[in-house]
Each structure stands twice: as structure tokens, then as C-alpha cells.
Symmetry: C2
Subunit: 118 residues, 2 copies
DNA sequence: CTGTATCCATTGGGATACTG
DNA sequence: CAGTATCCCAATGGATACAG
């Protein structure tokens, strides 16, 4: 284990990923593997409000994790996609995903069968 | 890439790690590799207030990521250590650390040499 | 030494309505 | 379609003082 807390860089990755919907946004973009329109993104994650979706996209964009392409058409079209730099985050997302899967399964296993009356 | 956004578990890992000082706390405990007293922890991370340190420790403990051992002595002694479950987070922290290192170095490279007058 | 208890400022995110 | 603009709330974290 060669991690030096006093020279810790974990924060920089975390800062980028953290945001209630950012992992989901990133995973969606990674999975589709092609530019995705704003509205598609919103449909993939309906629980998020437009304001927040826009904000998190802007933040990811400003970190150069995702790309925003505007097509001067009517109606307007804006497409988002991962940058190659953004894709370097994949090992992190993947590690978290794998961990989460296991963790979540354990949680489910621990749950009592729902045979309680009432 | 086998990540399904609609069945996304990334959040569960993230929820545990997120907290302004949690990564640092975890890395410290992992690095020392032995029980660490509250005060030692505080000295390792002096910028954190007692209140917040306590709170983040409590949260990690309630997720079973770290262990809290109280020794009924005077003056009181309380030692914290990683649980074996907590250690399963290591691949995630490690992935983030490696990414951060690279990322940070790039940032440093991009900086201008500080030879500007004033 | 290892905490609580208060009080406070900032932020993140949600609901809703409006716009080019 | 792809956003802004407001208003609002809850949660996070910081400063400080106190306690067993």
C-alpha cells in the first residue's frame, strides 16, 4: 500500500465525481458511447430537475470530463459526450460499481423476508 | 464495459466515502495499519474540528467501515481502526489516488513557473 | 483525552415558472 | 429543445465553549 495521506490526491478525483447525479450522468454517457442530447439524458434520469441537470453538466464540462456540442439548428440541439480525459475516470467508477454491487447484494441478503403480517 | 446505469450501485460506495475528511481519515487508518487514537487522528488532520472529526468517525463506524474501541482508563483512550469490511474499499481509494496523482501532476505541469515579478 | 452542545454561514439540490 | 431565473429548504461543516 503506497498511499501517503499527507500527499493525498484522492480528493481531486472525488471532487469531480461527487454530485448527486454525476455518477449516473457519466455512466450513461459511457454506456451509450456516443453523443447524447440533453433531453435524452433527462429522460434517462427523470428524477433530476432541468436546473440541476444543467448545473452538473456544466461542472463536468468545466473539468473537461465531458464535451458539449451545440448545433445551431431550430429546434436547438445540444449533445454531450465523454472526453478521452473523462474516460480515464472509468477505473474509479468501475471499482465503485463493483464494490456497490457486492455491498448492495449483501444488504439485500441481510434483509428479512417480507412475510410479516401488516 | 458492463455498467448498467439503470441498476447503478456506484452511489452506495460514494455515500460512504463522501465527506470532506473521510478519505483522509480512511487513508490514515489504512496507512498506519494499527489502531489510532482520536488525538493522533486529529494531529494527522489538524484542519478538522473536533466536532466534525467525531461526526465523520461516527458515520464511518455506523457503516461498519471502521471500528471504535473504548478503553475504560483515565485519561480515556479511544482507538479507531479499519474493519476488514472497510478494507474492501481500498481498490476504490487506490483507483482514486492513482488518478488523482496523475491528474494533479498534469495540473502542476500546466502551471506557469512562478517567476513573475509581483 | 475524548468528546457534546450551540450557533452560524455556505452550499447543494428541489419546485416551479419563464425564454430564445 | 435546451435551457435561465427565483425562491426555498435541509444538510454539511466550521468556531467556540463546555463536560466527564
Amino acid at each position: 500500500m503506497k498511499i501517503e495521506p499527507n500527499y493525498c490526491e484522492v480528493g481531486s478525483a472525488l471532487d469531480i465525481i461527487v454530485g448527486k447525479w454525476k455518477p449516473l450522468i457519466l455512466l450513461t454517457l459511457i454506456e451509450k458511447d456516443e453523443p447524447v442530447r440533453f433531453n435524452q439524458l433527462h429522460k434517462s434520469i427523470p428524477e433530476i430537475s432541468q436546473k440541476v441537470l444543467t448545473k452538473q453538466l456544466r461542472e463536468l464540462e468545466s473539468e473537461n470530463i465531458i464535451m458539449r456540442q451545440v448545433f445551431p439548428e431550430v429546434p436547438p440541439r445540444v449533445e454531450y459526450s465523454m472526453t478521452s480525459y473523462g474516460l480515464t475516470l472509468f477505473p474509479i467508477l468501475d471499482a465503485m460499481h463493483k464494490w456497490g454491487e457486492k455491498h448492495q447484494q449483501l444488504k439485500l441478503k441481510d434483509e428479512k423476508p417480507h412475510n410479516n403480517i401488516m
